[in-house]
């Protein structure tokens, strides 16, 4: 009996030692030489592996960043400037600063404003729906409401509002990785600069139909009337294909376009005070009168 125990222990010990030796030798022989900075960079990455930077994951980004001559083309939208400063410090590159971005849903065709004209009965996916037809409302450009963007978001920053039937972005959680913008078949979601203290103005519609058609399909549609573009004193607004677009780089957040928009398609968010439309309209009127007088003189 004792013999068996001794033998067992002996055999197992020898086996263990032999295998450990083999493992050690294999590890030595197949060791891959890697730039140690890759590990260092990876450590400061957020580790979300979201692919928002255009690489397969954080490690792939680290490898690319180490190889690249500078950081101009590599930016981690999730970690933002803070992470990139750390990466730059490790690699000895110059720090590139980018304005923090946020996803913006450019459709405000709520259930109320945009009545359904048929009932969709297929798989609840915007991409399936979009492959089939233009959608269950009169608007061929707007949100399909099946929530592919919500499913694509890894950070839980998107949710469907059951009342409006539209996705809502939680700007605290949004990392601007861009997954939602890629998955949306209607290309409604855009990454825009967050703006000072989160204040930003955008056209919440992408409908390219002519005014009356768009208006018939959705009460909140941009009808491409161009009033906003005429009002804007900063040349930030262009109207192309019956839909207005506000260039965030030029916008000075004066909110005049928002006040003038006849359908309420222009949205300003995170402003400290609610917009007093009449006051702004009055202001614009006065200015335009003065300009006219000046022109006459």
């Amino acid at each position: 009996m004792v013999n068996i125990i001794i033998w067992t222990v002996a055999v197992i010990t020898v086996l263990g030692l032999v295998l450990a030796l083999v493992l050690y030798l294999v590890a030595r022989k197949f060791k891959v030489e890697e730039d140690p900075r890759i590990d260092e960079v990876e450590k400061v990455m957020p580790g979300a592996n979201c692919g928002g930077c255009g690489f397969a994951g954080c490690r792939a980004f680290a490898e690319a960043a180490v190889k690249a001559p500078n950081l101009d083309n590599n930016f981690c939208p999730v970690g933002g400037n803070e992470t990139m400063a750390k990466v730059a410090a490790i690699l000895g590159y110059e720090v590139t600063q980018k304005a923090p971005m946020v996803a913006v849903v450019r459709c405000n065709g709520t259930c109320e404003a945009r009545p359904k004209v048929n009932r969709y009965d297929g798989f609840a996916s915007c991409n399936v729906k979009s492959l089939l037809y233009t959608g269950d409302t009169g608007c061929a450009f707007g949100c399909l409401g099946c929530g592919d963007c919500v499913n694509a978001c890894q950070f839980g920053s998107l949710s469907m509002d059951p009342v409006t039937g539209l996705p809502v972005v939680d700007q605290e959680k949004c990392t601007a990785c861009g997954a939602c913008t890629k998955v949306c078949p209607k290309h409604i979601i855009e990454l825009r600069p967050k703006g000072p203290r989160g204040m930003r103005i955008f056209v919440s519609c992408v409908n390219k139909d002519k005014g009356p058609v768009a208006k018939k399909a959705c009460a909140n549609a941009c009808i491409g009337c161009g009033i906003c573009a005429k009002t804007c004193t900063h040349e930030a607004i262009t109207v192309e294909g019956n839909v207005a677009y506000i260039d965030p780089a030029k916008c000075k957040l004066c909110r005049e376009c928002e006040a003038m928009c006849p359908t309420g398609a222009i949205h300003g968010v995170n402003f400290p005070k609610p917009l007093d439309k009449d006051a702004v309209k009055e202001r614009i009127k006065l200015r335009q009168q003065k300009a006219k007088e000046a022109a006459n003189e």
Binding site: K116, V117, N118, R119, Y120, D121, G122, F123, V128, L131, L132, Y133, D136
Partner: protein, 323 residues
């Protein structure tokens, strides 16, 4: 007129639903259930009622209170699990043992994996094997049939033979106690599902006609059991039982017709199904001849259930226009 429906094609659907398929299985099991009632009387009815009720209630309670998902009892799969479990235990089993079996079958083997379609092993079999291992006394004490039919009492034929072989008797002496008619018409001790081969086969034929099951799995199991036992019996008839005896005893028919053909735990392709069937047949015979349990169908099916994902991966249907 309502607003028009719009969906991708196809726009019609066959009448099959999970529920209708399961309903067919329930119907197919009815002859065997009725037979068992006739043979074993009210006590078998109690076993059946407790088993089905506990399986259904458990599934309802777990999906509602633990998983917080829509209830799935409507698809009737829990009813089948309950029926199969009841057919797999002796009618003398106490009710609390059956409830424990249901907990293992539905709670552990089915719902922990995500409910119907996600389980790796046949829930009823897992429940049965759990009881067999945990409560061997209850699970191997086979009471005599006590219904309206006057039948032979005693242990199951396979159990009796294993016992006898240990005491040095030959197979011929032992099997002479059983006639094939007895085996076919269930005049023997055993679990309810083991006893009436003909009723089970009738149910299986119904399933084949309704195209619910894949007959090739069952047929390969029968063929493999027959061939394997023919070889061993041919070599030493004194040590090994003969093919017909093996086909008709030990729950093989119940296992091959109703448990091995469970959609969830069997391979999808014909080739995979045949390999699966051969595996079950061969393992059953090995356990019967050389194992310590007299009866091996349950274990054989569970072992082969484990390799189903592999079989699904290895044996695929030929794709159109490809080599």
């Amino acid at each position: 007129m309502n607003k028009l429906l719009v969906s991708p094609s196809p726009h019609i659907h066959s009448k099959d639903s999970t529920r209708s398929l399961m309903m067919d299985v329930v119907i197919a099991l009815l002859p065997a259930v009725i037979c068992s009632f006739i043979f074993y009387g009210w006590r078998e009815m109690v076993v059946m009622a407790v088993s089905v009720a506990s399986c259904v209630l458990l599934e309802w309670a777990i999906t509602k209170y633990m998983l917080k998902k829509p209830s799935t009892i409507g698809d009737l799969s829990a009813v089948i699990t309950g029926m199969l479990l009841a057919l797999n235990v002796p009618y003398t089993t106490p009710w609390w043992v059956i409830v424990i079996g249901s907990v293992v079958a539905v709670g552990v083997a089915k719902l922990t994996f995500g409910g119907i379609g996600q389980n790796i092993w046949n829930p009823a079999l897992v429940g049965r094997v759990f009881l067999l291992v945990s409560f061997p006394t209850y699970m191997t004490t086979w009471g005599a049939p006590q219904g309206v039919v006057d039948a032979v009492s005693g242990p199951t034929p396979l159990g009796a033979i294993q016992e006898g072989l240990m005491q040095g008797a030959t197979v011929q002496e032992l099997t002479s106690a059983y006639s094939y008619q007895d085996l076919l018409f269930a005049n023997l001790g055993g679990s309810a599902g083991e006893v009436c081969a003909l009723a089970l086969l009738a149910g299986f034929v119904y399933l084949c006609i309704r195209r619910v099951v894949k007959p090739w799995i069952t047929l390969t199991i029968f063929a493999t059991v027959a061939v394997t036992s023919l070889i061993f019996w041919g070599i030493n008839p004194a040590r090994f039982t003969d093919p017909v005896f093996n086909l008709l005893t030990g729950g093989l028919i119940l296992g091959a017709c109703f448990m091995a053909t469970d959609y969830v735990t069997s391979p999808m392709s014909v080739k995979g199904g045949i390999v699966f069937g051969v595996g079950i047949g061969f393992l059953t015979m090995m356990i019967r001849y050389f194992g310590s349990y007299p009866e091996g169908v349950s274990f054989a099916i569970l072992i082969m259930n484990s390799v189903v994902p592999l079989l699904n991966m290895w044996f695929k249907q030929k794709k159109f226009g490809r080599k």
